[in-house]
Symmetry: C2
Amino acid sequence: MPVFQETSHECRDFRIIPSRELPLPRLTPRPAQSSSSHDKHEVVIIGAGPAGMMLTLLLARYGLGDTLMCYDSKPGTLKAGQADGLQPRTLEVLKSLDIADEILNHGCHMSEVAFWNPKTSISLGQEWGIERTSFAPDVIVAARYKHEVTIHQGRIERILEDNLNQYSPNSIQRSTKFIDFQLDPAGDTDYPLKIELEQETIDGKKTRKIIRSKYLVGADGAHSQVRRSMGLELTGETTDHIWGVADFVADTNFPDVRKRCAIHSDVGFVMIIPRERISSGQYLTRLYVQIKDEVPAEESDSSDPLSRRKSRNRRAAITLDFIMKQAQRVFFPYRFSIKKGMEVDWWAAYQIGQRMTSKFSMTDGSGQPRVFIVGDACHTHSPKAGQGMNVSMMDSYNLAWKLAYKIHGLSPQESSHSFLATYEDERLKVARQLIEFDTKFSSMFSGQIGSDSSVKGLTHEQFLKVFSDGSGFTSGCGIEYSQGILVQTPAIENSYPIDGDDYLQGTLKPGRRLLDSVVRRYADANLRHLQDDFLSTGRFRILVFTMLDLLDPQGISSKALTTICNNTIPTFPQGSVELVVLHPFLERAFEWADIPSCVKDVAEMKFHGPVHEELYRTYGVNQNTGAIVVVRPDGYVGIISSLSDPSQAETYLSRCLVRVL
Amino acid sequence: MPVFQETSHECRDFRIIPSRELPLPRLTPRPAQSSSSHDKHEVVIIGAGPAGMMLTLLLARYGLGDTLMCYDSKPGTLKAGQADGLQPRTLEVLKSLDIADEILNHGCHMSEVAFWNPKTSISLGQEWGIERTSFAPDVIVAARYKHEVTIHQGRIERILEDNLNQYSPNSIQRSTKFIDFQLDPAGDTDYPLKIELEQETIDGKKTRKIIRSKYLVGADGAHSQVRRSMGLELTGETTDHIWGVADFVADTNFPDVRKRCAIHSDVGFVMIIPRERISSGQYLTRLYVQIKDEVPAEESDSSDPLSRRKSRNRRAAITLDFIMKQAQRVFFPYRFSIKKGMEVDWWAAYQIGQRMTSKFSMTDGSGQPRVFIVGDACHTHSPKAGQGMNVSMMDSYNLAWKLAYKIHGLSPQESSHSFLATYEDERLKVARQLIEFDTKFSSMFSGQIGSDSSVKGLTHEQFLKVFSDGSGFTSGCGIEYSQGILVQTPAIENSYPIDGDDYLQGTLKPGRRLLDSVVRRYADANLRHLQDDFLSTGRFRILVFTMLDLLDPQGISSKALTTICNNTIPTFPQGSVELVVLHPFLERAFEWADIPSCVKDVAEMKFHGPVHEELYRTYGVNQNTGAIVVVRPDGYVGIISSLSDPSQAETYLSRCLVRVL
């Protein structure tokens, strides 16, 4: 088209780069950027695996990109990580950070599990072997993604780092080992942590240096040196089962190789985890193979040289060939081998063990938590239920916003110690559940299911029950944080607006995450995911389920909205509390002018209605009464109150945020 | 977990990078990489806008990354592009290249259109003004994405370039102007094109150089120098309507500002195009404002100095302020202004014109097309229907695989001239439709709808009809390429297996794109988008709709599959024809062993069933008869034949691909 006048503003040039979220408001002074500040950080993170990278990324996004540093002892991106499974809840969190797409597009989705057991009846001429007992959905709880995803851990780390580089390109320093730390408030009260590091140059020269920090987080894995420096250790029993694991392109006539499979045969147990497509166009398969030749626990821990040599020999016998031969025995009568001409991606042998520490943090003299550990530094366990990377990243996800609030001066002074302490309160409980679940789950896999179940122990039905009962935990969607300053469980009173208790299907409950739903935005009629209004930008949100009286200017809905917009939100720092509003009308039967004007002013693009009649019911809300829900920055419900009592939201928020009015 | 044995293969390290698709097989020798080859390319592309970038990206993905070069006269990424709309079909294509996510996540979705007209009745005390007549869905045809997306053109170019850099990081050379070309087969028969370029260094020095190429593509916009060198020009009439356009953050009480709106008032016409959210969290709005002060066509084209000065003065009077004032008159009684404190992103004034060239390519002495033009170099038109960037990129999408096939030696020697000529045949027709549609659409916008329609011309119903009738074209989903060597329209015979003619809702037809559907993959029970098996990797696909006899080893389905796997596919170069198979069974009532083994061998991960009963019916296929469909690399159907006659697919493919058997 012939343009004859054209004027463009320079701000337009920025519209071409990837979107970035705004940092959290900061009320405390920003540290001076002096030349000496290279050795002074607000947060130091040790370890750049999934947990450390997740924490660094979140803090950078919240606004701490210039004042944090993550150190990793290895010279390059981790390539040895063996975790590969992402739960539905982790996928929701990654989506809330806008980094889920590559994982969803290129990871392997696991929607269905196949259970195989020894043949129950043999016809004339048939061989013994295995048969499929049933299929089950992999995810039975309500979730935005009704499947798990498997993908190389190194790829997830690369995706996290790519995103980190958009917010803070120089936050990872490699080839640097953590040595020790000291709490030394005498030296510098603002930066009470003295941290000793050892840096290795390309020519192998090692130099020590001391840096200072306000906070230290150990994300340095099961052998965490930060944990050791805190005087903590992993405790728990090492069980006596040995497993082999291998990733490769399979050549097989086993029909369910592309599904997650639990295969109990008379000669042992195998688990199939289908993996992603690789660049050749072929698909990886991971096998977990139980090695029947057991190691007595006392032998492996023994200090007796003879016993240790026996143990070493036994372990050395476990080769890739050994693992594949055992797998082939279990798969009989099906063929199962490594595709000709293809190399095995990775294989390993390990012993199952569940261990954890008793504390996840350490306080300074005033009682303020200053040092934290996250991920494998806190808990190790078997890989069977695919929990490792998930629980680790979610530790960081729980800690990050709390740390940012404290440093930015957003959390109230009077509760800030206990505010930070909620990290340990909330995640220690999850770790205990993890250890308990994994112990049960692992021993179950090592148990035998026979055609004659009365003789051989566990029945298929018992197995299936543990699998189903664990789904809230294994999906990550059933995690519930208990009562504390950030979770207000309801008093037993008539005005509590939630009906029902089907929490795994979406019924709201303080301490649980807000389920996603598809809604229709009023302003533009677009279909939207409700969770997309709860992005991980560190903000609290007030979610108002208005009731059928919304169009009545004197109604309860109007009053609640007006109070929240005019009183509650302005009480707190600008940009720290957002409003999301739902209405119950299936049809567009009203105009902006018919509802309180503050909805358009404050939440024009966060005002939605149902696309089907179930919306309110899914959350346990009655459209004749409505509800007010405060959602924490991590997507977990903080408090639920009656629509006629908006003051409860303010009281709750006053414990989480400083008041500016 | 305590790992005591671990072995990792180096190939595993590559699993962390973004996925890349395999290039097309190449049968011709690859050009030697001599030092002089810098000035010799297989394809030279002029212009790095959306059309040129799309072509470069596609060719690089097909395997020509090392032997092509795209030159652009500007020193950096284009920032002045004003196109912003992506059609549903373009989104499907971007998805097939794995580059749609950022656009879908961060662009503005337009799902609904609001039509506003002069008030029909005025009560006592009310003012004249506008009222909403109706809403309509923005996309009424069946499509994977039931909305359009608006987003900054520069961002789309950046996304294309980011992806190009993964395949070929050095394919764009900037600050280089195309001067002229000559067809000079005498010099070098393999590289018959002599192309003259002018390069500008940072210090402004200009140097000329001559390069050689096999093919040349002009994607250099409406003022295309390549087109001029071909001796072609854009022809057509310039109509006499002037429009203003502006992008800004609006401050308004107009209720539908977040929807696409067509607003006819008694004082003129405005169109709202909602735009993406910007980093401040606010949303852009684009306004197209009709300027009533018309310019006679003869005046603007006149060589009379007085007439030209009048025209110039008239144009100079169109300022941003003028545009906004006119908009405000149309929006009355609603407020509509630029948000206080915000700068206008971009504004311009233009005259509507529809022009195109009569040819899109130029042949050498042997009749082989050697020079092509794509995008605005071929056709210019008004921006009203949001077609520009879409039709331009789709020109490249149509040309790219044909060029790659020719250069790689995949297309048969005997038909290769006509094979390449299909680009012009197919896209010239689309351009003509574009010009026709835009002429109708534009003049309709410039027409007036009055409360008393009999007096003022166009009624709202007439307007709506043009809008709806154009939906196949404006969505991009109704484009139909006509009969040619790549499109075999069916002979009228009894065995043609398609019922119905609701092509816009999915009924299959040669020349139209294959509609997406959600299907359930047999191997892993995952829900999949059928279009995800038709990625833009340059491959032909045979899509087999098996019938209810699939489990009968002597049935028609089994025979067709066996013939296709054992005879048809091996006839053509390895990796050039893929198989996708659908089955009609809602329940999983069979095992791999019950169907021909070649399905698992050839299409294990491309074998799907319905998730609802409508699947076959959507495509016009009867599950009692099935169908064989050959889909071109660009997703358009090439031929449809009876399941009992698989030889038709082979005959068709033999016109497109060389035979190796």
